[in-house]
């Protein structure tokens, strides 16, 4: 039991930190522009595919640097020539634009790389078990994922709170007009933050591609979960996004590893159920089965009872 909890905890942290890399960019972009970028997970997918292509030529490590940079540049272009253009039609149009972009990027990825899963692997140098605990291996690559995510989180925090650029970004988020009047180029700041957010998503894709698989559906799989995190944590709150990422990551891994069903719960109270009734699916419902819907349940509950999210200050 202890072994199960230990490994679930570690895996949950890996997933949570990975989700945070996506959520941090998304929540920064949201607090700046007020737009939830539906295409955010698509940039994550682009990162994985670009890194795969780069890795077939020059190996994993250059891809780790190059792919996020390319994705970041693409993101900046999207902001400059797409989102800024659509901005004049209002908020709903911006949301729909990012939604359409997500659809388009998935099609483009299928056009360029095809529909099948790509054989994108972790570098050989990281293909060894870091430690063995109760006879179960913990791969070094997962430790590497934790390390990269934590490094990014700390770097982001330091840049935002300790540097001049971070101060300007914070100012541009809360008082864009005043910041512009002080002589800062606010649209450029917006473009930069959008680009960096996309680059972070791309980086997440690069390191998640080998672990979770590189296939055209990878954006959809993670995309809506990232929204859940951003909303549950509180729109625009980085700290909230961090906590929510860990909660969702842990919740999903624990739900998968703990195999309990409603029948077990009912038998505690000496209630037996009819195996043939129309509600039979309800009685045999088990935790691993409901694991995929838990995040959405959490989202709906949070939105009903605390629309600002865990740490958010404003509603929409």
């Amino acid at each position: 039991m202890f072994e199960l909890i230990f490994f679930s905890l570690l895996n949950g942290i890996v997933t949570g930190l990975l989700l945070f890399m996506l959520a941090s960019g998304l929540t920064l972009i949201f607090s700046m522009m007020g737009v939830l970028n539906f295409a955010h997970a698509s940039f994550y997918m682009l990162g994985a595919y670009l890194a795969y292509t780069i890795s077939t030529y020059v190996g994993f490590w250059p891809g780790l640097i190059l792919a996020p940079v390319i994705v970041g540049l693409l993101g900046a272009l999207v902001e400059r020539y797409g989102l800024r253009h659509v901005h004049r039609w209002g908020h709903v149009a911006e949301l729909i634009f990012t939604f359409g972009l997500a659809f388009l990027i998935e099609e483009v990825v299928q056009f360029i790389w095809g529909k099948e899963t790509k054989a994108y692997h972790e570098p050989e140098i990281l293909q060894f078990p870091l430690f063995t605990f109760f006879g179960q291996d913990f791969p070094a690559y997962k430790a590497f994922m934790i390390f990269i995510s934590l490094a990014i989180f700390i770097a982001l925090l330091l840049i935002l709170t300790r540097t001049r650029i971070g101060l300007i970004i914070q100012a541009a988020i809360s008082h864009p007009n005043m910041t512009a009047k002080l002589g800062h180029n606010v649209p450029l700041v917006f473009m930069g933050v959008f680009g960096v957010g996309c680059a972070l998503a791309g980086l997440a894709g690069v390191i998640a591609g080998p672990a979770l698989g590189t296939f055209p559906g990878m954006a959809v799989v993670l995309g809506s979960i990232v929204f859940v995190i951003v909303v549950v944590g509180g729109l625009g709150s980085l700290g909230g996004a961090f906590i929510a990422s860990l909660i969702i990551g842990l919740m999903q891994t624990f739900a998968i590893s703990l195999d309990y069903s409603v029948t077990d719960l009912l038998s505690l109270f000496n209630v037996t159920t009819d195996a043939e009734s129309a509600l039979r699916d309800l009685w045999t419902l088990s935790l691993p089965q409901v694991a995929p819907i838990l995040p959405y349940l959490l989202l709906v509950l949070i939105l009903i009872f605390r629309p600002t999210g865990l740490f958010g200050k404003r509603e929409s």
């Binding site: 939830l36 659509v86 949301l95 939604f99 359409g100 659809f103 299928q110 056009f111 819907i293």
Partner: protein, 432 residues
């Protein structure tokens, strides 16, 4: 309303014609369409069109008329489909005796019930919070549908047989054409109901809440109630569309209520134009045509649809109907003919450019995805070797020359547009 009070006996026929003309036209159109397009594939396409028209119109009750952006509208469509297909099976098992053509009403009812439940908490706010709740609910129900196998049938879905119901007036729905008329009748009724809904005080309040929710609260309407009523009506009609889908295809799966279908309906409504009542109808027709016709010719049709969607959002947020409506003033001033030649001069090179670009994409796609060793491909019936240099040169020059020429034609078209839309001055007004 003033139309009614002001009509005298002499003006009655023309005013009646103005009010009912489009509806009579629609009814006649629906009746004679299968005589013009009688092949199996076109009846299939028209059936799908009718279903999507109802679905897209119900979506526009939210987005266009109520200002609520939903990413989970397929939930009500899918649930309506599942409910109807279950009732179809009850009819077959003779648990209930019902003619098949009333089944969509059960789809509508379950859509209404779920819209009432979900709307009771999701319509408190519009904007991002509403959009997020709708997305969450959509994912929730889609995931649930794979868990609750008894109702949703798991990954295979639920199948039924529409011909097993009692035969009414010799119609047993074995033929697609019979289903077409069933869908046509339902489409006519629901289009009329949705149009009438948009003209009621309730429909007007939905517009008011969309435009400014605070002000509508000041004049005494609860924004939440107004949104909830729109939301329920929308869920009801989406459920009916789902029920018709179940009758037409005799199968409903998880795919009918997942995020993809929710995205498709948003796409249809937006491409058609959310600001107009007939916008979603245009969108549904265009999308279904693209889906059925384009997919015959190319494997990458979804890429084209995606590009079309993004371009629409960026450059013509009023949608296709908006483009048509832009020509209204020129039409009233009888200057539309002056635009014909400039459009032709602009259109032909643009068409050449698009043909070149899509030819380029098709050749790339063929080179990348065709089986090894297979080098011959056909575009528009022309066979050629995709590994030769010549086809590449041809499509690229077509694209480049078309692009360059269409650029040079831009000023003359703009000029013609301005002439056509210039306000009437007194001399011209007197002469025309």
């Amino acid at each position: 309303m003033s139309e009614i009070t002001n009509t005298h006996t002499g003006a009655l026929p023309s005013s009646l014609m103005k009010r009912f003309g489009p509806w009579i036209f629609l009814a006649i159109g629906l009746i004679i369409l299968p005589f013009i397009f009688s092949s199996n594939i076109s009846v299939y396409t028209m059936n799908l069109m009718g279903i999507f028209i109802i679905f897209a119109l119900s979506y526009n009750m939210l987005l266009g008329q109520g200002g609520m952006l939903s990413f989970g509208h397929a939930v009500y469509f899918g649930l309506g489909g599942f409910m109807s297909v279950h009732f179809m099976n009850y009819v077959e098992a003779e648990i209930v005796t019902l003619p098949v053509f009333v089944l969509p009403i059960f789809g509508g009812v379950i859509g209404l019930v779920f819209a009432l439940i979900i709307g009771s908490f999701s319509t408190r706010r519009s904007g991002t919070v509403f959009a997020m709740i709708s997305l969450g609910i959509g994912e929730l129900i889609a995931s649930c549908s794979l868990i609750f196998v008894a109702f949703f049938g798991g990954e295979e879905g639920v199948t039924g047989d529409r011909t097993m119901g009692p035969v009414v007036m010799g119609v047993d729905f074995a033929q697609d054409i019979e289903v077409y008329y069933l869908i046509a009748v339902w489409a006519f009724i629901t289009i009329a109901l949705m149009y009438l809904f948009s003209r009621t005080p309730m429909g007007r309040m939905a517009n008011a809440v969309r435009d400014n929710d605070e002000r509508s609260e000041f004049i005494g309407y609860s924004q939440r109630h107004v949104r909830l009523i729109s939301f329920c009506a929308s869920g009801f009609f989406a459920g009916i569309a789902g029920g018709l889908f179940a009758i037409n295809f005799e199968i409903v799966t998880e795919e009918n209520l997942n995020a993809l279908t929710s995205g498709v309906v948003l796409l249809m409504a937006y491409i058609g134009g959310v600001g107009f009542f007939i916008g979603p109808i245009v969108g549904a027709v265009v999308f279904t045509l693209l889906q059925t016709l384009l997919s015959n010719y190319t494997e990458i049709w979804q890429l084209y649809v995606g590009v079309l969607f993004v371009l629409t959002v960026m450059y013509v947020p009023q949608g296709l109907t908006g483009i048509l409506a832009m020509h209204g003033p020129a039409f009233k001033m009888r200057r539309l003919s002056g635009l014909f030649v400039p459009y032709l001069r602009m259109g032909i090179p643009t068409f050449a450019m698009l043909a070149g670009i899509s030819g380029f994409l098709e050749i790339i796609h063929h080179v990348r995805s065709a089986a090894v060793g297979e080098t011959s491909m056909s575009l528009l019936g022309i066979e050629f070797n995709s590994h030769d240099v010549m086809p590449w040169v041809i499509v690229l020059t077509l694209a480049a020359i078309g692009g360059l020429i269409s650029r040079t034609q831009l000023p003359q078209m703009r000029e013609a547009w301005e002439i056509a839309n210039a306000p009437l001055d007194s001399n011209e007004g007197a002469s025309s």
